[in-house]
């Protein structure tokens, strides 16, 4: 039973990370050259999930994904599936609430690249895409790694938004954090304890891994 919760959580975290990383680069890169006004607004929007209560975010997403909403209708028309109380909806919600965890580290890393380096690449004849691919992303690698681990770990731990948008459907939307809540509600302290411990261990391992890799990359660059 709990194995399926773990499988689902890992699947959700992997899918979120995989989809969000390129998206984060596409969002972070234009932020660098935006004029200060629009940039402030865009950065505010990206950071919003950090400060909103998960229930508020979950509520708006639920409304946005509903049967009669534009997004919900569109998705149903395209795939025949609903966005509410399904894995698809959960994934979409996950992309939204992880936005700051992926965009901000990538943005910081891209900002740290000196302007001259980017301009030198253009002067070498590299197009903007080639510059991003061959120069900027390799240099922003520690930021990308941070984004990957933060997104992955944060997806595993998210509770409020998942509950609001996904509900609690086994093998569809019942993630580890929801399962823990379930166990506690049912006074299954032992099961809740085991599941919680595995989550702690996994998160800790993820953080250690990122620090190790960042450190090693930092050393190799010297």
């Amino acid at each position: 039973m709990d194995l399926s919760a773990w499988t689902l959580s890992l699947k959700l975290a992997a899918a979120t990370t995989l989809l969000l990383l390129p998206l984060a680069v596409l969002i972070a890169r234009p932020l660098l050259t935006m004029r200060p006004g629009p940039r402030l607004v865009a950065e505010g929007l990206v950071a919003l999930p950090l400060v909103l209560p998960p229930t508020v975010l979950g509520f708006y997403l639920l409304v946005a994904f509903g049967q009669h909403s534009v997004i919900g209708e569109l998705y149903r028309g395209l795939t025949g599936r609903s966005l509410v109380f399904t894995f698809d909806g959960l994934l979409l919600a996950s992309l939204v609430f992880n936005l700051p965890f992926a965009v901000q580290p990538v943005q910081r890393a891209l900002e740290a690249i000196p302007r001259e380096v980017r301009e030198a690449a253009w002067c070498c004849g590299l197009s903007r895409w080639q510059t991003l691919w061959k120069i900027e992303l390799p240099l922003a690698w520690p930021g990308l790694l941070t984004a990957i681990v933060l997104t992955f770990a944060h997806t595993l731990g998210e509770f409020g938004v998942v509950l609001m948008v996904g509900g609690n459907i086994p093998e569809e939307t019942r993630t580890v954090s929801i399962a823990i809540y379930d166990h506690v509600q049912a006074f299954e302290d032992r099961a809740a304890g085991i599941l919680s411990a595995t989550l702690v261990a996994f998160s800790f391992a993820a953080i250690v891994l990122i620090q190790f890799l960042t450190h090693r990359i930092g050393k190799k660059e010297q």
Binding site: P114, E116, A120, W122, G125
Partner: protein, 371 residues
Amino acid sequence: MNPTGLQVRLRQRAPIPLDATLACAPGELLALVGPSGSGKSTILRCIAGLHAAAEGAIHCNGETWFDAAAAANQPVQARRIGFVFQNYGLFPHLSALENVAAALGGLTLAEREARSRELLARVHLDGLERRKPAALSGGQQQRVAVARALARDPAVLLLDEPFSAVDQVTRRKLQQELARLRADLAIPMLLVTHDLDEARMLADRMVILHRGRTLQAGSPDEVMTRPASASIARLVGLHNLFEGTLTQDGGGLKLEWLGHRLDVARIAGQPGARVSWVIPPEGVLLHRRERPSRGEAENPIAGIVQDCLRLGPFTQIRLLPDGGSEPLAFSVPTHVAERNDIAPGAPARVTLLAGSIHLMPWEAPAETRGE
């Protein structure tokens, strides 16, 4: 319009005011000289396509790179420029070889490697191909940047203060290498610098910039000895800048200054007109003490030595002319200074060579001061 070489005309108000016109022929090295904030680097960035001015045009070998009136603006990548940035802008994650190869798009992998090795050898970096920038010295990094700039077989070479980030000894060496390298380059080369000695040493011509305006263009010698205005004389750091009046004396015009009527080889204008004038230190000759001239020497001036500074084999002297408030600066071999008992407070006489005095239209001195 000259179809070869580079022609640049730029105007804008913000972010940095520009009102610049310059041209550079193939094989010519043009130095852009001016104080910081004078728009030198902005002009290079406009030529590279990294910045677009509000008005103006840039043509290179007959191609239009930029024309504000026609809304034409070629992207950086299409301009074929070699750019050496002030801090080089090397790619820190790539080796020296890969840095150069990055500019060799369109070739096969083997061709790229061979050509990159050849370019690195040309700047004396053979053996260091595999090193990353962080493992290279400042001078070596600059050489990688030069090799990379030449890799695209550029139509124009742009050098933005390329010697400012290295120590004095390395600077001299790199300057000599550039002087040698440029002999083989038949493209326009632009060097941005605030170092007049550097411009004098390396450039065929120089352009003086002030607040984005190109004030004077000419050979370094011409600009340094015959500045077009007093403000240019100040910008290039000339000493011995004074004011005087033109006066009719017998058959011809003379320069009246502190009660003296000075002969000037090249003189024109209306009697009574105020002028600025300058004389290079080489045009000021010290009279020997045991043989004081009695007026028969050329433009004799008497004064009191304000201070003298011994700099190895030469001694710099500042002589306050009688009745004047600003000193004449010149230098003599140290043994000459000693033999003539030159010391602060001592009287001395000098000649101002008529051929060395350069007259300029008078201008209010406040205009360029206070920066």
